[in-house]
């Protein structure tokens, strides 16, 4: 009965005109024509700014939902949005984004748990979560790099110490994690932990990160699949968390030495390649555009969703751009341009609803199962990151004689 009531409420929420326009647009398979990339980047950044203002206090609202509007601030994603704001400040030459990043960093320090961990969930809760801690470390470390302010590095070190303390002996984390199980996407925890260890001259933290990578590279299955990539221990996995895993491995590879670095890169590249081929080969017409990448894949890399996870698509675009450079393989850059065009086409630039205008939905269509009927802040964040990454890559190519 509860489920029926919830479903009816969800459908009713879609009837508000600004929501209905998006639902209908997606049902018809329409996407808005790709406008100028700078316009889209600014629109997404402005949306993030409004999300930060909506939350108050410095953190960024978790997102705008058709049911209930703006959500409370989300410590996890606010943390890495700080890095995006700093990148935008440098990319656009506008210091206001840096100010916003600093506000996030200070808010995160103000709510950091006594032991150093970052709080789980949306809002200010009392429990620590490993993954969230890693994501805020990414923001703090970026703030330390950009501002030189010691308080951000100190906060990152406190967080790193907590992570090292709760780590399993074999390197994985299985306590204070979502569903109390290990996750491969903790590679995005090991990444900032490693960087923190190197930057703060704390070899113990770097060693803890290496232990995790050592465990993770042993968790591969057939065809480049990596175990534990999902939120749960079984079932298909979101491209969002697959991309988290791959990115964390690549960042680890950039900071490690020797065989472990090579292995991290190999594992990441194999997984990224699988998704690249699944994207490029999934088309009705060999000479046409690829279909939107399904949002879920199972262990055999078989698609398991009819909807697309827009965050995952942006994350993969970033990964593919980097692989294009690392492997001298422009096919990856080509795929990233196309998948980003598809995401950009879902971004509504003209809505009168500030929760929609410039934002990126969880899924395409918007009623897809990932963050259904909502605009999560991390989707906009990753679109911004991807657009800046894309433009830097293309500027390099276009500048060549």
């Amino acid at each position: 009965m509860n489920r029926i009531a919830e479903s009816l409420k969800a459908r009713a929420a879609c009837l508000r005109p600004s929501h209905a326009r998006i639902v209908l647009r997606d049902r018809r398979g329409r996407r808005s024509a790709a406008g100028r990339d700078e316009e889209r980047l600014r629109a997404a950044l402005d949306w993030l700014g409004r999300a930060q203002d909506a939350a108050g206090g410095g953190g960024v609202s978790a997102g705008y939902h058709f049911r209930g509007g703006w959500r409370p601030p989300y410590p996890e994603t606010s943390g890495y949005i700080a890095a995006t704001f700093l990148d935008a400040a440098a990319y656009l030459g506008e210091s206001s984004w840096r100010d916003r990043a600093v506000a996030i960093g200070d808010w995160e320090i103000s709510i950091q748990l006594r032991g150093g961990a970052v709080r789980g969930g949306q809002g200010v809760n009392d429990y620590p979560i490993v993954f969230n801690t890693g994501q805020v470390m990414i923001g703090w470390l970026a703030l330390h790099r950009a501002t030189g302010e010691q308080r951000f590095l100190d906060a990152a070190v406190r967080a790193g110490e907590w992570l090292a303390a709760v780590q399993d002996a074999d390197g994985k984390w299985s306590r204070h994690t979502l569903n109390d199980i290990p996750h491969a996407y903790h590679s995005r925890v090991a990444w900032p932990l490693l960087e923190c260890g190197l930057r703060a001259d704390r070899p113990d933290l770097a060693v803890a990160a290496e232990r995790f990578y050592g465990w993770l590279v042993g968790e591969t299955a057939g065809k480049g699949w990596i175990r534990h990539m999902g939120f749960t221990g079984s079932g298909p996995v979101l491209t969002h968390t697959i991309a988290y895993t791959i990115r964390g491995l690549l960042e680890g590879a950039n900071r490690l030495d020797g065989d472990l670095a090579l292995r991290c890169r190999e594992v990441a590249t194999h997984a990224a390649r699988q998704l690249f081929y699944r994207y490029e080969r999934n088309k009705a017409d060999p000479f046409g555009e690829p279909r939107p990448l399904p949002g879920l894949f199972d262990e055999g890399w078989r698609p398991a969703a009819a909807w697309s996870c827009l965050t995952g698509n942006c994350q993969l675009a970033i990964i593919w751009i980097r692989l294009a450079r690392a492997n001298d393989d422009a096919r990856y850059l080509n795929a990233s341009l196309k998948i980003l065009d598809q995401v950009k086409g879902t971004q509504c630039l003209k809505s009168g609803n500030p929760g929609i205008r410039g934002g990126v939905a969880g899924s395409w269509p918007v009623t897809g199962r990932y963050i259904q009927s909502a605009y999560p802040n991390w989707a906009a964040k990753f679109l911004c990151d991807a657009l800046m990454e894309q433009e830097r890559a293309m500027a390099g190519l276009e500048a060549r004689p």
């Binding site: 422009a330 795929a335 341009l337």
Partner: protein
């Protein structure tokens, strides 16, 4: 050696010129295999034939750009036909076939049993592909196989937009004639016919003049097989499969024309 030409359903000068050129070369085609056309397609193709030259053609190009129908394409075919003494090259395919006594065999599905039977019943040794069909089960029907003109150097550049990718990567542009197998552009290579882009040429113009080059390459490939030659096998790992090129990369490829 009995040869058949496989065409698409659309209007193109290439198959007709290929038939004429094969006849001149002493390798006359037995038949043309073509998808069965519906009424709407017949009307559209009739319109295309009637308006091949002139304003209506330019309007049609705007709606569905086709380098074969472009002025550059027509001019290039005219020059080619003149060079090889091919008369009536721009007549409708049906007229050319009638004049050369080439049978038309239509099919619903290239890869179904009936098509395969039609090929075997006629004792066809070699199919020459002039369209973008996908070959699967029908590959086993002709005795020797199916030849395809691929718009890039194999094995380096497999897949789609091979010419554009060749330009982008700084590789030689040209046409590879290869046998079609079950992989993507992985079959035995018979020959590579290079062509040089002209400085200042754009991609559509370059594509527009490749039609006759494809004809000549296919004829040379067929001649090589008729004379007892064979293709060179490719190792699967030797090349990469490329996909539809994003317009921003096409622009960069274009910039590389003319050095």
């Amino acid at each position: 050696m009995k040869i058949a030409v496989v065409t698409g359903a659309g209007e193109s000068l290439l198959p007709g010129i290929l038939l004429s050129r094969l006849r001149k070369e002493g390798l006359p085609a037995e038949c043309v295999l073509r998808p069965r056309a519906g009424a709407l397609r017949a009307i559209r193709d009739g319109l295309a034939r009637a308006t091949r030259r002139g304003l209506a053609c330019r309007i049609r190009e705007r709606l569905r750009p086709s380098p074969v129908m472009s002025r550059i394409g027509v001019t290039t075919y005219r020059e080619y036909a003149s060079a090889h003494g091919l008369e009536g090259w721009d007549r409708p395919l049906a007229r050319i076939m009638a004049d050369l006594d080439v049978e038309l065999v239509t099919f619903e599905d290239l890869n179904d049993n009936r098509t395969a039977a039609a090929i075997r019943d006629r004792g066809i040794d070699l199919l020459l592909n002039t369209c973008s069909s996908l070959y699967r089960e029908v590959l086993d029907a002709p005795r020797i196989g199916v030849l395809n003109p691929h718009m890039g150097p194999l094995p380096r550049v497999r897949g789609v937009n091979a010419m554009e990718w060749s330009l982008f990567l700084g590789l030689p542009t040209g046409i590879t004639v290869h046998r079609i197998d079950r992989g993507v552009d992985t079959g035995d290579v018979l020959l590579f016919e290079p062509f040089e882009p002209k400085p200042g040429e754009d991609i559509p113009a370059l594509r527009g003049r490749t039609g006759p080059l494809m004809v000549e390459a296919l004829v040379r490939g067929a001649r090589k097989l008729a004379d007892g030659g064979a293709g060179e096998p490719q190792a699967k790992s030797d090349g990469r499969q490329y996909f539809v090129m994003h317009p921003r990369l096409v622009k960069l490829a274009e910039r590389r024309i003319g050095g």
